[in-house]
Symmetry: C2
Subunit: 204 residues, 2 copies
DNA sequence: TAAAACCGACCGATAGTCGGTTTGGAGGCA
DNA sequence: TGCCTCCAAACCGACTATCGGTCGGTTTTA
């Protein structure tokens, strides 16, 4: 890696950490260059704007998530499990990350949304391939697979990523997923056990 | 209405127009007070910050949408039509508004998302009541109505409000809606005719 | 020796502050 | 009723701090 390339990666890493811990809006370019020990001019030698830097940071995040998804696909596990695994990428499950937590603070809605939107775009084709595999094995029966998959991702995202959710939400989600993909009732019910109950409502 | 209250409403109206036409981020407080012919201090007498003003503007928008939804519910039309009508509130249909158009410009992602998130919260109970009515009439058959309704709103929002969508998306949405609510196949297919094709992909 | 990397003073715009002035209406009083 | 007092709400605009971004120039590197 060339000298400049290394520096750029360092800057991205620093920004990545700061954006997540304090939010994009609350992180100033001055703070970034101060932590990186470089001058303003150097920063703008590598990035044409703060927002363009955000795009690259998001790119980094997406690539990681996509890589994780691809690994799940390669695994020798039942198709429904693969789907559940990838679905967990959109929603922060029991994964190792304090990363995602910060993403939910109201402060950085901008980054939050850019990430999720792109993530859905990236995951749709990957997950579609898995579903197609499932139809061949007779587990699912449906047409328009990419559209259905995207819909699942949108639901998962919109249901489990916005604040809290209830046990019923999980039940309904499983039911809906089965119906969208044309699966036997109960095929996906194991998902219930995978959901991270920590941010679930306890009452009602 | 007291003097001050009137002024505040005027300011909100001005901000509402400007936020929609130029975006929240691209509208400065200076521009607002210039158009309103008041001083900086006066502005901050009514709003503690620009963002807090945005909250109030959004509140205004939500109330209007909710009011429109309530009117649809009161109407003497078949239950599925009511649902389609309210669903159209989340998604800009052939309605009279140049309003919504501006909401989609990438510039004001912030406002866009705040509005949609809140709108879903407000519409969920209203639409749930309609669906309950539908179950009584035997049109739908499902449990956990609020959760299912919210899911429908999330899908509608995530599918038809993010950039472009295809004819297949509509087909799949209708199919999914019927399955989520436990309706006969074809019950909701008239939705197809309601979708504003103007922002639909033409190719593929 | 040229390009890439780097520097930091400077700039314009912007959200928000602050100390002070004006206004209008409620209450006291003749 | 008419007038005065007084206080809070309404209003003012100069000022500040911060921030993203620019620019002309210097140093490093291959």
């Amino acid at each position: 890696m060339k000298k400049g390339e290394k520096r750029k990666q360092d800057l991205l890493k620093i920004a990545y950490d700061m954006f997540l811990s304090h939010g994009y809006e609350n992180t100033s370019v001055d703070e970034i260059i101060e932590k990186a020990q470089i001058a303003k001019g150097t920063y703008y030698h590598y990035f044409k704007s703060k927002e363009q830097m955000l795009e690259e940071v998001i790119e980094m995040m997406i690539e990681r998530e996509a890589e994780a998804a691809k690994q799940i696909i390669e695994m020798d596990i039942p198709v429904p499990q693969k789907i559940a695994g990838i679905l967990s990428s959109v929603k922060p499950a029991e994964a190792e990350m304090p990363i995602e937590d910060a993403l939910f603070h109201p402060e950085n809605a901008l980054m939050h949304n850019k990430v999720r939107k792109k993530l859905i775009d990236v995951l749709t084709p990957l997950l579609s391939e898995v579903v197609r595999e499932g139809t061949e094995k007779g587990i699912f029966e449906c047409d328009n697979i990419p559209e259905r998959v995207r819909m699942l991702l949108v639901i998962s995202n919109g249901t489990f990523n916005e604040g809290t959710f209830s046990e019923r939400d999980i039940t309904v989600f499983i039911d809906t997923a089965e119906k969208i993909l044309g699966a036997e009732k109960g095929t996906m019910s194991f998902i219930y056990g995978l959901i991270d109950k920590s941010d679930m409502e306890t009452d009602e």
